[in-house]
Symmetry: C2
Subunit: 306 residues, 2 copies
């Protein structure tokens, strides 16, 4: 490639980056608009749903493959027997990032855990290396004796997180145990409830704010055609000290987005599909009483309706 | 279930349907907003892209699995060697349905077909049975001798379509041949270019307009709490005379949506990922000359970057 061609490419590259910045702004604006336009509708929907027994369990029964693949038969039984409400909130709106999401599960009394509410928050954050995405904190589940669906993994993750917050260093008991257990059993077929253990990159609020400010300045400079030092980011690719290696549900951020952008807005559609497939008429909703746990666990793998 | 509970369920069902109608209105409004907010950006992007050799081939190289799974090695070679532009338009805007999409491929001279432009349009249409979705028309590809990537399937589909338009009935030569070929070879591993043959349900413009009008009246009635005759639709489930059975690319509508909502808006991201993975620095874009067809066809299965 000639020097001239290379020069041109550098210019195109800057232009592409500028465009990506502008597209991202539009995307955020559309997310804000969406939140505004749907707010009352979701509130109305929640009121209707609250009167329909097994609405959310039936929605999960018809969940798309990207969600369903993580729901093990026992998880499915728990959700079917005791999930009473689900809600998704873009909790940093109106002023913060619309990509931050909180997902709240509400449960009735069940034989697996004491919690009535399990809420997991994902913050959209940026770090000093230029990475941006969702980070979270482990949520503790109070398992009933012998009923831990994650075989202790979630408790260990929570303990490690507490140890980290207390600055206990790398060699804690919980870390060793977690590592051992992850190495010996692997994560194949891990419970959906391990999702509550996800942390993602460790980014403090200060680091995020500094990184967002730096990024804004960089974008402004690029827009004005000033030279931008982008290489800094690339050179630090090997600097992954922030990377949290002991993730028991590494794709939890993707799953959260899928819940927020597919299951949550499409809930009525999934529910009606479940009704149809159960061969019931419009006017006979399946009630709690009609499905016990064994039945639920024995349900065949769920398919998204074409 | 008691009679009272059943009555309540009927009420909830109406409410859910009302909500779905309202959510759909919001979705359409957001699609219109999106089109408005991104129009100039896409025009700007097209200008930058036009100066970058192999932009679209590299985007396809990094296409997400939902698209990539349909691109066979030979298709990939064709795209890599001769795809010069791609564009997506919501062509019924501003007045029509924002879900109708036109996808236009532009090619340089290549050894497979004569066409410089292949454009496929998908119309969002509703039929009298209450079905709504994307329908299309087959696009003819002028294959060079011995180079038909669909082994004659696309030509047959096109001929059947012409026969249908001419009212030639069910027993045409082309129909028999198409049926035979589909039965004998199946559609596993069919070329991406078979996508251009998709028809979907046969819905005339008159039927669509009548169905849209009927649906609007139904929605209005439901909103006002008047009785709505929804059963009519359900009873006609067996009336599938409109179903076109000889589809050589049955999921073409899903693929079109995936191109329009993922590949098209994410093109810069996919291009930059391709650049990175090719281990090239920011300023040395891969040019046409650097990749020949054999290399292209030999590329390993592409993964979406995490």
């Amino acid at each position: 490639m000639s020097a001239e061609a290379a020069d041109n490419s550098a210019v195109f590259y800057e232009q592409l980056e500028n465009l990506e910045d502008e597209f991202e702004e539009v995307e955020l604006e559309l997310l804000r608009q969406q939140a505004k336009l749907t707010k009352d509708l979701y509130a109305k929907r929640a009121k209707v749903i609250a009167q329909i027994p097994s609405f959310w369990p039936l929605v999960f029964e018809q969940a798309p493959p990207d969600i369903d693949e993580y729901v093990q038969p026992t998880d499915s039984a728990v959700l079917l027997s005791s999930l009473v409400d689900l809600s998704v909130e873009r909790f940093e709106l109106p002023d913060g990032d619309p990509r931050s999401i909180a997902i709240k599960f509400e449960f009735s009394e069940n034989e697996y855990f004491e919690n009535k509410v399990l809420e997991k928050k994902f913050w959209w954050r940026r770090n000093k290396d230029g990475w941006a995405g969702l980070v979270s904190e482990p949520v503790k589940i109070n398992w009933k004796p012998g009923k831990d669906l994650t075989s202790g993994l979630l408790d260990l993750v929570y303990q490690v997180w507490e140890d980290d917050k207390a600055g206990k260093g790398e060699d804690t008991e919980a870390k060793k145990k977690l590592k051992e257990q992850m190495e010996s059993t692997g994560l194949d077929g891990v419970s959906f409830f391990a999702w509550f253990g996800f942390r993602g990159l460790s980014i403090s609020e200060e680091e995020n704010q500094a990184a967002v400010k730096e990024e804004q300045e960089k974008r402004q400079a690029r827009k004005e055609g000033k030279p931008v030092d982008d290489d800094e980011d690339d050179d630090e690719d090997d600097d992954d000290e922030d990377e949290y290696e002991m993730e028991i549900f590494p794709t939890a951020d993707d799953l959260a987005v899928c819940i927020a952008e597919d299951l949550w807005p499409g809930a009525i559609k999934y529910f009606l599909t479940a009704q149809e497939l159960d061969g019931q008429s419009d006017i006979s909703f399946e009630s709690d009483e009609e499905m016990d746990e064994d039945e639920a666990a024995a349900q065949p793998s769920k398919k998204r309706k074409a």
